[in-house]
Amino acid sequence: MIQLEQVTKTYPKASRPSLDNVSVSIEKGEFVFFIGPSGSGKSTIIKLLLHEVTPNKGRVVVNSKDVTSMRSWKRPHFRRSIGCVFQDFRLLPNRTAYENVAFALEVIGKTKAVARRVVPEVLELVGLGGKEHRYPHELSGGEQQRVAVARAFVNRPLILLADEPTGNLDPDTSIEIMRLLDRINRTGTTVVMVTHDSNIVNQMRRRVVEIESGRIVRDQARGVYG
């Protein structure tokens, strides 16, 4: 589903590469944590998978598409098969939970009728039934992240990328979000999560890839934070 083959990424003006000759392979339906200290290069992986940056060396393959050589005009369509969640939620403050999710559908050409059918369903799935018409500022942090997860998942992507999704949440709320991601993973969606939340990694007992200074130092099938 996802392959990084000897990927090196150096940002302009950086003294050392963010990722240095990294190879990793992720199967369909896997749940993978990328862990490591700040600046270790784990967020760069998310950016590579989204085709936000391209590697200096090596190959990135997502959904059996070679992202490395992908032309930028193909990027929008490519991104429709990937859902994405961030630490800061990235919701539109002037739109309700329902409208935030529906917006993601409408801007890729889905009709309002489709949105009316699908959006309540996915909001129910993430546990926000009854709160569809709240604005982000009327929701708790955990609830806002649920809206973000609903938006990422509404298009039934093959891959869900999560960049420190619990970074702004308290431990209990974090665990609820993790349960939600776990449920999404059980529907067959591959989940890639970047985090430095040791509690969560230890509880989930999923595959852990540890990165330090741009190199993989550990890749463990049912790992802990260590």
């Binding site: 990027r75 490519f78 991104r79 539109l92 993601a104 409408e106 801007v107 890729i108 298009n155």
Partner: protein, 291 residues
């Protein structure tokens, strides 16, 4: 639904920053008006050149002491010249009559000049008025010829004036167009900034580039079109108040500016306005949104 979305975004965008929108539209309107004026002058000067040069004459004035023989020789030569369409001989009496008519408001001048003092002349209509030079070279040393005067040289000076006016209008149009371009670029930047969250989400979920850019570019195009309508209004007002109004006394001199001339300028103005705005908007987005 997508068309409806894009259109509502355009209206919201224009209204969000209404002072800038107005500034942008006014500059575009002034620029396009000057473009229109310049275009009208251009087409009218062409018309007028046709009209004036067709009736233009070259006068060959003869010396006072010209002999009968010299005159008939010259006349024969002129009549057989392929460059000359028509030859008219004006003798001293006729020249005096013309002089009297021309200066009938100045009786003192008329009474001071005697018929004898005015030179005889041949008035030539040329097949092609631009071939004046070869006529001049050919006849300037012919016996009995005193002076050769070409009306077209005078006309050239007048038309130079028109062309200068047209160039000034065009330069004004270009200067205003640059101001308009900067305003369009700025408006689009402000619009893109105020919608940065939406744009970020759209990029994230994979909205197509045209869908992200269209509202911004169309905003500029709509402003360009409104500007060209205002420019059309300005041209209509110019014809109504200036050309048909205060300058109507001069109408015999100019070839008339018709309503259809003005309405034919409109598609050019609208096209230029819309195209220039669209290209500016699109280029700005390439730099600013990096979609």
């Amino acid at each position: 639904m997508r068309v409806k979305y894009v259109l509502s975004e355009v209206l919201v965008g224009l209204w969000r920053n209404v002072t800038m929108t107005i500034a942008m539209i006014i500059t575009l309107a002034v620029s396009l008006t000057m473009l229109g004026v310049s275009g009208l002058v251009y087409s009218k000067v062409d018309d007028m050149k046709d009209l004036y040069y067709k009736n233009i004459q070259v006068s060959i004035f003869l010396k006072g002491e010209v002999t009968e023989q010299e005159r008939t020789d010259l006349e024969a030569k002129l009549k057989s010249d392929p460059l000359v369409k028509e030859v008219l001989y004006v003798n001293k009496d006729e020249a005096y009559k013309r002089f009297q008519e021309m200066y009938q408001d100045a009786p003192d001048l008329v009474s001071a000049v005697k018929p004898d003092q005015l030179p005889e002349s041949f008035r030539l209509t040329l097949v092609n008025p631009e071939q004046y030079k070869s006529i001049y070279d050919q006849y300037k040393d012919t016996a009995g010829v005193d002076e050769i005067v070409d009306q077209s040289q005078l006309l050239d000076k007048i038309f130079d004036l028109f062309t200068a006016g047209q160039n000034i209008a065009l330069a004004g149009a270009i200067a205003m167009a640059i101001a308009a371009l900067l305003l369009v670029a700025n408006t689009i930047q402000v619009a893109a900034y105020s919608k940065r969250r939406e744009v970020a989400v759209m990029k994230l979920v994979g909205a197509s580039n045209w869908f992200i850019q269209a509202p911004f570019v169309l905003e500029a195009v709509v402003a360009g079109l409104i500007g060209s309508f205002l420019g059309l209004g300005a041209l209509i007002a110019l014809k109504f108040f200036l050309f048909d109004g205060s300058l109507s006394a001069l109408q015999g001199l100019f070839s008339p500016v018709t309503w259809s001339d003005i309405f034919l300028m409109f598609p050019i103005m609208a096209g230029v306005g819309a195209l220039v705005s669209a290209v500016t908007g699109w280029v700005t987005l390439r730099f600013y949104l990096r979609v």
